[in-house]
Point group: C2
Chain length 224, copies 2
DNA sequence: CAGACTTTGTGAGTCTGTGCACAAGGTCGA
DNA sequence: TCGACCTTGTGCACAGACTCACAAAGTCTG
């Protein structure tokens, strides 16, 4: 079972990347339970996917299983962590010290795996110095220095929508390579920066779509 | 341009459903700017997708555009809202009055479009009565009465991971049809209930994956 | 040491989603 | 009324993701 160098293999499909964190979490749990070996079947159950998918996903990382036995839980955990870059340290800056920004900063198990909040910023002078999760809120104007000085690689946008693009531009200009956007607005970034977005309103509207269908099934008269 | 009854047409692909909220938001903006007619090209730009996709997506709703002209912004907005069920009222209950639960309850533009937080619950007796977004925190034990009495259709799980499954079970038992899960755990629900999940750790790990690749491109020696 | 048994890794087929390119259909000016 | 022009709606080809089914490769028992 030789470790293959990162990146030096066939491209890992996006859908697979999105599932690796699930496997990672599942393996952490089996680890706590002291289980040494785990089959794709079991792992599938723990991650809420099907077994064939698990095997194919893991095969992109290399042949880390043993036929007839399963996967060595600890070794596989290590491999996935390595692949996801969790053995590295990723300093995170949160922009926006409102309700959401504070909640995110206080999120436990955040710093846990390599992610460490090193700054919380806000443009509102009244928020300056406010203590959030053990950090003093700093001025948005100092973003550049903070990003460079503390080697921030991931920026989290937790501002109102209208400020989001400006914040994103500033993050990119400062050299941040990854952005997680919680603001409900379209934010454009250069192709070499990755951005993911989390939007409460969108999620609720999707739920509402399906909820409506189900409601109509029960009483088809309500065609509104 | 006749309105077709909801549900009574070819099935709308999941990917399209996930984009309707984007179009909805874009149309709200054009509305504020007083723009009466919008082309697929323009809408694509505002929503951050490509024009062909916009046209195909909208075509699933019916033929609501005019060739040579574009779409009537207000009418289209109305149609999308109808399709997403935004003309209805969806009472929402938030379970978990911690940092995240409070942040979600205070989220502006939440109640805006049909979604209305009608209860915030917590199992911790010390949280009882605490005022969050104008609501007193109520006991988790009262979930059933609250859901039934206030006709809650959407439940939001904002508890620590270990409580999530129990909360989900209780929500389902009480009759909630849609769940939005913020807890970082696998939660199983019956097929007739829809659930979407938002997981900060997963998002960060995905970003970290791609960030790592970029870092390796810059200095290929660091194979760790 | 052989054969039964278990579980991985993957080829092949199917389904879903994307994007191009263009005919169909409508507007507008002369 | 006619023709130039514009934009929608969609057929088609392609790419990505999912699932099945099974050969390959290992373990374990007698």
């Amino acid at each position: 079972m030789a470790e293959r160098p990162i990146g030096d293999r066939r491209r890992i499909p996006e859908a697979t990347v999105a599932r690796l964190p699930l496997y990672y979490r599942a393996l952490l749990e089996t680890g706590e339970m002291g289980i040494a070996t785990v089959s794709s079947e079991r792992l599938a159950e723990l991650a809420g996917v099907n077994a064939a998918k698990v095997r194919k996903d893991l095969s992109y990382l290399g042949s880390y299983g043993t036929r007839g036995v399963g996967y060595d839980a600890e070794y596989l955990l290590h491999q996935i962590a390595r692949e996801l870059g969790l053995s590295q340290d990723w300093p995170v800056a949160i922009v926006g010290a409102g309700n959401l920004g504070q909640a995110l900063a206080n999120y436990r198990g955040f710093g846990a795996r390599g992610f460490r909040v090193v700054a919380v910023l806000d443009a509102d002078p009244r928020k300056l110095g406010l203590e959030v999760a053990g950090l003093a809120v700093e001025a948005f104007a100092d973003l550049d220095d903070i990003v460079v000085g503390r080697k921030v690689t991931i920026g989290i946008i937790a501002t109102p929508g209208h400020a989001a693009q400006e914040v994103a531009d500033a993050l990119v200009a400062a050299g941040v390579g990854s952005i997680l956007n919680f603001a409900p607005t379209l934010v454009a970034v250069p192709a070499e920066v990755s951005m993911r977005k989390v939007d409460l309103a969108t999620e609720l509207q999707i739920l509402s779509f399906y909820q409506l269908r189900r409601a109509l099934l029960d009483q088809p008269r309500a065609a509104r």
